[in-house]
């Protein structure tokens, strides 16, 4: 199947995200307009206009009604998915790096950068009302980050947040208690991405130290390591097979001085258990910044530094693949 290319952004993609059913694909980039697309034919449903800075993070809730984007303009905006209207704007003291809805969609968490004399902080807000009253509401709780800046985050069920940090640390926080439960330092460089498996028992991290690792959600034990030669920017676990997809490539700043082939901008597919690479897929001409499987596992999308989002449907040979 030929891949769909979505060109709705003027700058490099920072995150892409499927909603739960997988019919919508959200994308955000360093320009100021997150986009939403129909994943089936690549038709753009709309863009969420209103930010003034680069969008670093996006999230959509379980029912695909609430959408959230955190930006370098020091705001977190909540949107109605269906109309593209901004519902609330929460001002922060530094740029918003990560944001997540809780599993129920009742709460949202966002982390702010350590910048301009501000420490990195994890804030939890109640988003049940979803109206402009959120603008002034103060967060339910704030957890100061003593380790280092949060660079990736996932909300696990309704009570735990797992964070990946700039120094390679992974920590989990109990939201009800407002304290750290566990932490582990397996990576040596910044953790760029963190994605849960479909059954939410494991998560995979992608790090600039050129590895992706698989962790157990409860104990934060490192189960598997997937090694590459280039920084890994994103990693995802297939919902139907024991496959892990890794996206990355050399640093964006070095891209112009090497050929596309040397940059290793392919998405790479590893076996979850054997840690062995079994396939590659070319496409982007810059490093891949974000990558996600469609919830049905039959296609996947990647967003790159080149500003394109690609939706690739796997061909039959992928599904027939048998490991020896």
């Amino acid at each position: 199947m030929r891949p769909l290319m979505l060109q709705g952004h003027e700058r490099s993609i920072t995150q892409i995200l499927y909603n739960r059913e997988g019919d919508l694909l959200f994308s955000s980039s360093k320009d100021n307009r997150p986009n939403v697309w129909f994943s089936i034919n690549g038709e753009r449903l709309g863009s969420y206009n209103g930010h003034q800075g680069a969008i670093w993070c996006i999230d959509v809730d379980w029912t695909s009604t609430k959408f959230m984007s955190g930006s370098g303009d020091m705001t977190l905006k909540l949107w109605s998915v269906e109309t593209g209207k901004s519902v609330a704007t929460i001002e922060t003291k530094s740029s918003v790096r990560c944001c997540n809805f809780s599993f129920s969609g009742n709460q949202a968490a966002y982390s702010t950068d350590r910048a301009m004399g501000q420490e990195c902080e994890l804030s939890i807000i109640d988003v049940r009302t979803m109206d402009s009253s959120l603008n002034d509401a103060s967060p339910i709780s704030k957890i100061p980050m003593i380790h280092s800046k949060i660079t990736s985050m996932k909300w696990f069920l309704d009570d735990t947040i797992i964070t990946g940090h700039e120094n390679g640390l992974i920590a989990s926080y109990d939201i009800r208690m407002g304290r750290e439960i566990n932490s582990i330092k397996e990576h040596t460089h910044v953790i760029q991405d963190l994605q849960l498996s479909k059954d939410m028992t494991m998560f995979v991290t992608a790090s600039k130290d050129a590895t992706a690792k698989l962790f157990d959600v409860d104990t934060l034990t490192c189960l598997k390591t997937y090694k590459t030669e280039r920084p890994v920017n994103s990693a995802a676990i297939s919902p139907i097979y024991e496959h892990v997809a890794l996206g990355g490539g050399q640093e964006a700043m070095d891209v112009t001085t090497t050929s596309t082939r040397a940059g290793k901008f392919d998405s790479r597919f590893y076996h979850l258990v054997y840690e062995e690479e079994f396939a590659r897929l070319k496409g982007h001409f810059g490093p891949i910044n974000s990558l996600q499987f469609h919830p049905d596992g039959k296609s996947f999308a990647s967003g790159g530094e080149d500003g394109f989002v690609r939706i690739q449907v796997f061909d039959q040979s992928y599904h027939e693949l048998v490991f020896e």
Partner: protein
């Protein structure tokens, strides 16, 4: 139309011009659910263009929430878009095949394809494990060029490397040349092309057909992108040259699926 009268065109064009305005667009759906839309328009050079678009109609059964979202009005930057994908933002890119890595040692062996047994002989042309004069490509024009070029080029690039100080900008193509000096095409030296395969050949068949000859690094079976049927030829990359030679020996003239196969060395690509 005086302007057009001045313009001397071929009679064929004139007949078309006389036929007047653009033909109406047509839509046709065949029994396989393939919709063909033919449109005519005039492009910016004032030439008539026929645009044929084929769609495959698919029906999807989805949950209510998904179906209701399909009916949403577009907003933001897409507010003025018509239903259906906008060609400004969505387009179909060229077909890209997943490269399956059948063997885990590919990475390593790519750097050292040369068979250790034959290391005393190294082809200057293809870096294969044989004397240059025995190179299978010696009859190609590129071979002669390459042999002629090898010496002066090597010394030139050596001079360049020594003169360039660390940290100095090296253009990517030079970098590539330095890195894979003579590397190009090496990959192809152990590749064979099998043709006259039947339409029904699948990847598994090809695998079965070739696995007795030795380890393969890559296998490519040309398939029709619409039907998925074999186009009749395939490329198989072996790790060792002997395996490839043995495969050619056996498969050339081999009867497979009522067809006589043809096996030969894959011709390297020059680009």
């Amino acid at each position: 139309m005086p302007a057009l009268d001045e313009y001397k065109s071929s009679w064929a064009d004139e007949i078309e011009l006389e036929s007047g305005s653009l033909p109406p667009p047509t839509e046709d759906i065949d029994e396989h659910g393939v919709k063909t839309v033919t449109e005519y328009k005039i492009n910016k050079d004032d030439k008539k263009v026929k645009v044929v678009r084929t769609y495959k109609l698919q029906k999807h059964v989805v949950s209510k929430s998904v179906a209701s979202r399909r009916l949403l009005h577009k907003f933001g930057d897409s507010a003025n878009d018509e239903p259906g994908p906008n060609s400004q933002t969505t387009f179909v890119s060229e077909d890209i095949n997943m490269q399956l890595i059948t063997n885990k040692e590919e990475e390593k062996s790519n750097d050292a394809v040369v068979d250790p047994k034959n290391q005393f002989a190294k082809c200057r042309f293809c870096n294969g494990g044989h004397f240059t004069t025995n190179c299978p490509y010696r009859h190609t024009a590129a071979y002669i060029e390459k042999i002629l070029d090898t010496k002066p080029q090597a010394s030139a690039s050596a001079a360049e490397t020594t003169s360039s100080k660390p940290g100095k900008y090296v253009p990517p193509f030079i970098k590539d040349q330095q890195k894979n000096a003579g590397n190009k095409g090496r990959d192809d030296t152990t590749a064979i092309r099998i043709s006259n395969l039947s339409e029904a050949t699948s990847d598994a068949d090809l695998e079965e057909l070739t696995n007795k000859f030795g380890k393969k690094s890559k296998m490519y079976l040309a398939k029709d992108k619409n039907t998925g049927l074999c186009k009749g030829f395939a490329y198989v990359h072996f790790y060792s040259k002997e395996d490839a030679a043995a495969a050619i020996e056996t498969l050339d003239g081999f009867g497979y699926d009522h067809l006589i196969l043809k096996a030969e060395w894959s011709k390297p690509q020059y680009n």
